[in-house]
Symmetry: D2
Subunit: 304 residues, 4 copies
C-alpha cells in the first residue's frame, strides 16, 4: 500500500528547494501580491483519508479551476444539450485565442477555454435564479464546506481589466451563442473565477469526479457517465495548449488556474490538489506540474 503522506512530504520538500519557480500572474494586483514561496499539496483517497503538506489550508484564487465546477453544474441542468453550444475537442492553442472561435463560427472548442467557460456561464445565468449565489452554494455543497467565499477585490479587478474576455463575450454574442447581456454574463464569470479555496477544499470539491459523481457525503451530483465525460474533457483540455504535455508527463485528468492551483484525480483512487503561484510559459503552475509528475511516477499509478 502506498504511503501517500510520505510521498507528499518528499515531493513538497523537493519542490520547495527549487530555484525555478516560474512567474506569478501579474495582470491584477490581487494575484501579483501572493508570495512565490507558497507551496501546498492535499490528497484524499477513496477511503476518505486525507494527506496534507505545506500550506494546504490556506486559500487562494481558484480562477480557471472554477470552469470544471460550472461545467458540472450546467451539465447537471442541461444534460447533453450543452454540447450544442460548446465542443469537446482540445484547442491546441493558448487559452485566450479568439481566432479559433471566429473560424469555428462562435462554437468554442471546449468548455475549459475562456470562450467555452463564458458560454457555460451564460447557461447558468439563464437557468439559475440567483446565479452567483446559487453557484457558490453548489460549490459549498459539493465540498461540504460553507466557508467558501468570493474575493470581491479580485472580481472587481478582472471586471476593470478583462478586455480580452469582453472581446470574447462580444464575439460569442455576434455569433448568437450568448443569450444574456455581455455585462451580466461576465459579472458572473469574473465572480466564479474569484472564488478562494484551499487545496484541502479543492480535493473535497473534486472528490465526486474521482468517485463516479458522489461527494464525500455520498450524495450523487453527476451521473457516472457525466463524471466520466467531465474527466475526459479535463484530460484532453484542462491545461490549455499544454494538455498533451500534462497527460504525457502526469497522466491524470486535471485543471489548472492562473492563481497557481491545480487539481487532478485518479478515478477510483484519489483526488489531489497542489498550489504554487509561479507559472510556466503556458500559464500553468510550474512546481504544481512537477509535483504531480512526481506523484504519478513515485506511486507508479496513472490512468495510463
Amino acid at each position: 500500500m502506498i504511503d501517500y503522506q510520505r510521498v507528499l512530504s518528499e515531493i513538497t520538500a523537493h519542490c520547495s528547494s527549487s530555484d525555478q519557480k516560474g512567474m506569478i500572474a501579474s495582470y491584477i494586483p490581487e494575484l501579483a501580491n501572493v508570495s512565490i514561496d507558497k507551496l501546498a499539496m492535499h490528497l484524499i483517497d477513496s477511503d476518505k483519508n486525507t494527506y496534507a503538506a505545506g500550506d494546504a489550508t490556506e486559500t487562494f484564487s481558484i480562477q480557471s479551476i472554477s470552469k470544471v465546477l460550472t461545467l458540472a453544474q450546467a451539465f447537471g441542468i442541461l444534460g447533453s444539450d450543452i454540447w450544442k453550444r460548446v465542443g469537446v475537442e482540445p484547442s491546441g492553442d493558448p487559452f485566450n485565442h479568439l481566432s479559433l472561435l471566429e473560424q469555428e463560427n462562435g462554437i468554442p472548442r471546449n468548455p475549459l477555454i475562456n470562450a467555452g467557460a463564458i458560454v457555460v456561464a451564460d447557461i447558468l445565468v439563464s437557468h439559475l435564479e440567483n446565479p452567483k449565489q446559487d453557484f457558490l452554494n453548489f460549490v459549498r455543497t459539493l465540498t461540504g464546506d460553507s466557508n467558501i467565499h468570493v474575493d470581491s477585490a479580485v472580481a472587481r479587478s478582472e471586471e476593470r481589466t478583462g478586455f480580452r474576455n469582453y472581446a470574447t463575450a462580444n464575439l460569442l454574442k455576434s455569433f448568437g451563442n450568448l443569450q444574456n447581456d455581455v455585462a451580466t454574463v461576465l459579472d458572473f464569470y469574473f465572480h466564479q473565477c474569484a472564488i478562494s479555496m484551499s487545496c484541502a477544499q479543492l480535493t473535497k470539491a473534486f472528490y465526486p469526479f474521482m468517485n463516479q459523481g458522489k461527494c464525500l457525503k455520498d450524495r450523487t451530483h453527476l451521473t457516472q457517465t457525466q463524471t466520466k465525460r467531465v474527466n475526459s474533457i479535463m484530460l484532453t483540455c484542462g491545461f490549455y495548449d499544454e494538455a498533451g504535455e500534462f497527460a504525457f508527463e502526469v497522466g491524470l485528468p486535471g485543471k489548472s488556474g492562473v492563481g497557481g492551483g491545480i487539481v487532478a484525480l485518479l478515478p477510483g483512487k484519489y483526488c489531489v490538489a497542489t498550489w504554487s503561484p509561479g507559472l510556466n510559459a503556458k500559464g500553468n503552475s510550474k512546481l504544481g506540474m512537477e509535483a504531480l509528475e512526481k506523484l504519478t511516477t513515485k506511486t507508479g499509478q496513472s490512468i495510463f
Copy 2:
C-alpha cells in the same frame, strides 16, 4: 475629349436594367429599408465640371466610406506617427476578422478595416475637443457643404447590435492599442459611419484626394505626399478582401460602404461616386463596382 455625361448616362441606363442587383445589408433596419432600385452616379472633373445620373442628390448612409475621411483628419493631426498604431498592408481577409488582429498583437493591418478604423477613431477622440462635432465639421468643410448630418437612428442601431465591433475594440484595448474607453471610441465610430451623404456630396468631399490635397475651394487639407499615401491605401485596402479584384477590374483608388456607396478617383482627372444598395458576397456594391469597371473601360483611363 471624353463626354462624361454621356458615359454616366449609358452606364446607369445599362445598370438599372440589370436583374442581378445583389443583396441589401440587413443587419440593421435602417439599411434594410432602402429600395434595391436606387442607383446614382456623380462625377467631378479637374475643371470642376459636374456630371450626374440617377438619384445623385439623394443621401444614404456612407458607412465605411467615412474611414477615409477620419484617416485624412487623423493623418493631418498626427502626421506619420499614425503608422505606429496601424499598418498599410492589405489584409487579404474579410473586413471584420479578429484573427489577424490577434496574431499581429493588436496592430491592425490597415486603417480601412474595422479594427484600423477604430484605432483611427481613438486617435481623433484623443485629439479633438468635441470629437463627433469636430469630425462632422471637417467633413462639411472638405465638402464645402454644411448640410451634412448624422443619422442618429443608424448610429443607435449599430450601438445596440455591433457586437463584433465591441469585440474588436476590446481586443485592441487588451493589446494596449486603444487609449480611450471602448464605449467612447465606439460611440464616435458608430456616429462617423452613420453620416448620410449623396453621391454629389461624396465627390466633393473626396475632391482633395484627386487634387493633391486641395478641396474645390483650393484650400489645402492634406499635403501632396499625404494625399498620395491615402490614395495608395485606398487602392490596396479599400475593398476588404476584394481590393485586388477592384484594382484589377477598375484600376482606381476608392472606398466602399455597406450602405451601397462607392467613391473612387483618378488622380488629376476626376472623382466619382456611385450608389446602388445591393451588395455582392464580399460586401461591396454590386452594380457600383460594375459601373466603375465600365467607366474606366469606356474612357480608357485608369491609374494603370
Copy 3:
C-alpha cells in the same frame, strides 16, 4: 466478472444491422474495393483470454494504426530525444493540414498526425539497417506472429497519389526536420501504412501497451514509463480532430486508420480491435467508434 464474449457478440449484432455505415475511403482502389459490410471485433484480456466476433481473422490495411508501432520502435531507440523533433500536443486540426506545421516551424504537433509520423519514419530510416524489413520484423515480434505482410499494391498506390504526404515531407525538409531523402522516407512510410493485419493480430501487437510494455510472451518492448506516454499520446492525439470526442464517448487510448480499423486498450485490463471500413466525416471508422462506445458503456469500465 464481465462476459466479454457476450458483450462483443451483442455489439457486433447491433452494429451489423445499422444502415449508417459511413463511407469507404476511396482515394486508392485497394481501399475502395473492400466490402462495406465487413465487421469484426477482437479482445484480449489481461489473463490472455481472447474473444472474437465477426471477421476477426481477416486482414485489412492498418494504415495510420502503424504510426503507434513506429513510434514505439523509435521511442525504444532514441528515448526521450525523440521529443526534440516532434511534440505531444493534440493538433485540433484534420490529420493532413500543413498550416500548423508551417506556423510551428517544422516541428509536428504529435507523432500520430501524418507530419509527425513522417518524422518518426525518418528516425527509423536513419537508425535501422534495413528499415522496411526491420520494422516489419518488429511488428511480427511484438505480435508473436510471422504471418504479417505488406500489401505492395497499397504501398505503390499511395506512392503514386500521396501528393499531400510529399508536400508534408518537403516542408519538413525545408525546416531541416528530415534527415533522409524525401523519396526514401516516404517509401518507408507508405510501406508501414500498407501492412495488412487482422483484428486478432492487432490486439496481440498492442498487448504491450496495456501490459506495461510486455508482450504476450512477457518480453519487455517498452519501459513502463514509455508505455504510459505512448498511451497518453494515443488518448490525446489518436483520432485526428476527433480525439476529444473519442476520449469523451469511449474513454480509452486508441488509434484508428482509414482502412477502417481501430485498436484501443484499457491499461491492465484488455486490448481490443475493431474493423468496419465505413468512415465518418473525420476519417475514423463509424461503426468501430460506436462499437467501442458500447463496449465501455456496457462494461462500465474506462480510464475515467
Copy 4:
C-alpha cells in the same frame, strides 16, 4: 521637363554611401557570392530615351521578377481563363506560406506568390512546345535582345534545395491544380527564375507594361486591358507582404526578386529598374526600394 539622368545620378550617389544595405540572400551559393556593393539604376522614358547609373549593364539573377513575364505569356495564351486557376488578391503573407493555399483549397491568391507562379508555370508547360526555350525566346523578343541566358548553376542549386517549392507544387497537385508532373513544372520554374538580366535589359523587357502592351519595336504583346491588369497585380501583389508599403512609399506597379532586382513603371511615362543585392527583412532589395521612393518623390510623379 524632368532631368532623369540627374535624378538617377543623385539617387545612386546617395544610396552607394548608405551603410544599411540589407542582407544578401544566402540560401544558394550563386546568390550569396554577389558583392553587396553592386548598385544600378536604368530608366527608359516614353520617348525611348534611356538613362543609366551604376552597374546598369551587369547581369544578375532576376528570380521572382520572372513571374510577371510568365504571367504575361500565359495571359496571352489563355486569356481570362487563367483566373480559374489563380486569384488576383494580395496575400498579406510572406511569399512562401502554404497555409493560405491549404485554406483556400489549392487556388493561389495571386500569380506573383510562389504558389501562383508555379500554377502559371504549369500552364506554360502545358501550352508551349519547348517550354524552357519558348519562354526564353518570349523574354528575348519582349526585350529585343537575344543575349539573355539562363544561369544553369542557379537553376541546379534551386533544384537541389527548393524543398518548399516542392512542398507547394505537391500541395497544388493534391488539390488538382497542377496538370503536369511536379518535377517537370519545377524544372521549368527553377529555369525561369534563373534567367540573368541587367537593369538595362529589364527596363526594355517591361517597356510594354508602361506602353499599353507594345514593346520598344512597337509590336503588341498584350492588349491594353491585359496590360492594365498585369500592372494592377504588380501594384497589389508585387512585393510579397510589403506590397502595401511599396504602394505607399513608392506608388508604382513593380516586382522584386531575391537577386536584388526591382523593376517598376509609371504607365505612359517610364519604366525603371534597380539592382542592389542586399535585402530587407521582407525579402525585397533595401536600397532598391529606397531608390524608387526617392525617384517618385524627387520627380513628384506616381500613379497616385
